[in-house]
């Protein structure tokens, strides 16, 4: 029974990732440019990864992060020059998000905001660091100003998008909502023992 449920969740996550990548690559094309500029800063794949982290299942979260990274690289120029960087950034962001939700038991908007914010910052910083290490002359990396702008815009866009997206995902993963808190409690108890 539990295996069936687990498979169902995995399937839903996979579908969410695929929809996220289609949105990420096509949404800015479908809306007016002024709105599209803002929508371009939203990292839909990261938001899905953070949502999986909020389910309090670290293995699932890290595997999702890896898959999201590979999917993003596949749909980007980065597949030709730096495949793996997106996955690495998502992995570390997912780990940070998981650490936060493993400490805070409560599941409310504030915790979600905190998790999304931390994951967004870590994601952009890791990317910037690796692209710089690999000596890519990206416009974003041309000075601290570019990275700071990417951080601020990415953070704001992700936070706003997460509110609406997570309301929708709560419906998709509704059976998981109660499980989530129980898992978190159990992990805290285990760590105390």
């Amino acid at each position: 029974m539990e295996i069936k449920e687990s498979r169902r969740i995995t399937l839903r996550i996979a579908v969410c990732l695929l929809v996220a990548v289609v949105i990420q690559t096509t949404l800015t094309q479908l809306v007016p440019p002024t709105v599209g500029q803002w929508l371009g800063h939203i990292d839909w794949l990261l938001l899905i990864v953070v949502y999986v982290c909020l389910q309090r299942n670290p293995v699932q979260a890290l595997i999702t992060a890896m898959a999201a990274g590979l999917i993003q690289d596949a749909f980007s120029l980065s597949s030709e020059i730096a495949i793996g960087v997106s996955g690495l950034a998502y992995l570390i962001a997912a780990y940070v998000a998981d650490r936060i939700v493993s400490v805070i038991v409560a599941d409310n908007l504030l915790v979600r905001f905190l998790t999304v914010a931390s994951a967004s910052i870590v994601n952009i910083l890791v990317r910037a660091l690796f692209y710089r290490m690999l000596k890519f002359k990206l416009p974003v990396l041309a000075g601290g100003k570019g990275v700071a702008a990417a951080l601020v815009f990415g953070l704001c866009a992700n936070l706003i998008a997460s509110v609406l997206l997570y309301l929708f995902l709560d419906r998709v993963f509704s059976r998981n909502a109660a499980l989530r808190l129980r898992r978190s409690e159990a992990r805290r108890m285990r760590s105390r023992l």
Binding site: V21, P33, H41, F75, L77, E80, G87, Y131
Partner: protein
């Protein structure tokens, strides 16, 4: 309890070791991409691009239809408001038309149009932009035309409104990826058209930000006028001569510049339709290849001369 269950349980208690393993795997993947003998893992992108095309096409067209139906509904509801708005719009458009006529008169004097006319000897494929790069750090986009339609790697792409967009960097049967000229990896030989026919300056145009390029001069000029047009030089073997890239940004005269900022003419932020110029690559590379061959021949001649003079001594 099986081994995988044990591992899962361990990972759930402490995910750090799993993170370590996955990070290591990714570092290995990144390193693989940096090895000169295996520079690309292109098949991943090839499969992804082929897979994305139908989804992007459906999304693009279905949103268009819904938008159309929505617009019709509101067109009926707000007919009176629209009438008032149209009157105001007519006055605005009349002013705009006068401005446009003036601009057209000026642009007719410009010889860039002649360069464009010379380009028409090549065929072109009109394509719709269906997707942008999934990673916001890169400036590429995906169009709905691929190898089936005759699109090949390195073909130049221009905007429907005019102006260079970039070049094709990857193709699949039904889609292609375009590297925008504002991307850092996009470098091409280009020349600035001066106000007189003699002041032609050569430089390299590179991407600088999401909306700007930079032109580094090969020989720095004494001065340059802002607003001057930048066109492709045709010496890079990628773009034909005379494609309009953009205009020098700024105001007045810029004295002794090492480089200048270029504002692309093509609206790169809101591209919907582009045209891929079906220019055979061999035709563009022919002058460059010829030059390389000549240089090699010269080198060989010099070397054989040196050998002969050495043997004579």
């Amino acid at each position: 309890m099986s081994l995988t269950d044990k591992a899962k349980d361990k990972a759930k208690k402490n995910p750090t070791w799993l993170l370590g393993v996955l990070v290591l795997a990714h570092l290995l993947l990144i390193s693989l991409n940096r090895v000169p003998s295996q520079p690309n893992l292109r098949y991943l992108q090839y499969v992804a691009m082929s897979g994305l095309t139908p989804f992007a096409w459906v999304a693009s067209h279905s949103v268009g239809s819904i938008k159309g139906a929505w617009d019709h509904y509101f067109a009926l509801r707000g007919a009176r408001d629209e009438n008032d708005w149209l009157k105001a719009e007519r006055v605005r458009l009349e002013n705009q038309l006068r401005e446009q006529q003036e601009k057209n008169r000026l642009s007719e004097q410009n010889n860039v149009l002649q360069q464009w006319q010379s380009l028409n000897q090549y065929g072109g494929v009109t394509a719709t932009v269906i997707a942008r790069d999934a990673n916001e750090f890169f400036n590429t986009l995906v169009i709905d035309r691929g190898t089936v339609h005759g699109v090949q790697k390195d073909m130049p792409v221009v905007a429907a409104q005019g102006g260079l967009v970039g070049r094709v960097i990857a193709t699949s049967p039904l889609a292609s990826r375009i590297l925008l000229l504002t991307d850092e990896r996009h470098g091409t030989g280009a020349e600035v058209l001066g106000q007189t026919a003699d002041t032609r300056l050569l430089g390299v145009v590179e991407g600088k930000s999401q909306s700007l390029c930079e032109m580094r001069f090969i020989v720095a000029p004494d001065k340059i006028e802002a607003g001057e047009q930048v066109i492709t030089s045709g010496q890079d073997g990628i773009y034909p001569k005379g494609l309009l890239v953009g205009r020098v940004k700024g105001t007045g005269t810029i004295s002794a510049p090492q480089s200048v900022e270029i504002e692309p003419v093509a609206p790169l932020g809101k591209l919907e339709t582009v045209s891929v110029l079906l220019i055979p690559l061999e035709r563009l590379r022919a002058p460059v290849d010829e030059l390389t061959k000549e240089e090699e021949k010269e080198k060989q001649d010099k070397a054989s001369e040196r050998r002969r003079s050495g043997a004579g001594r």
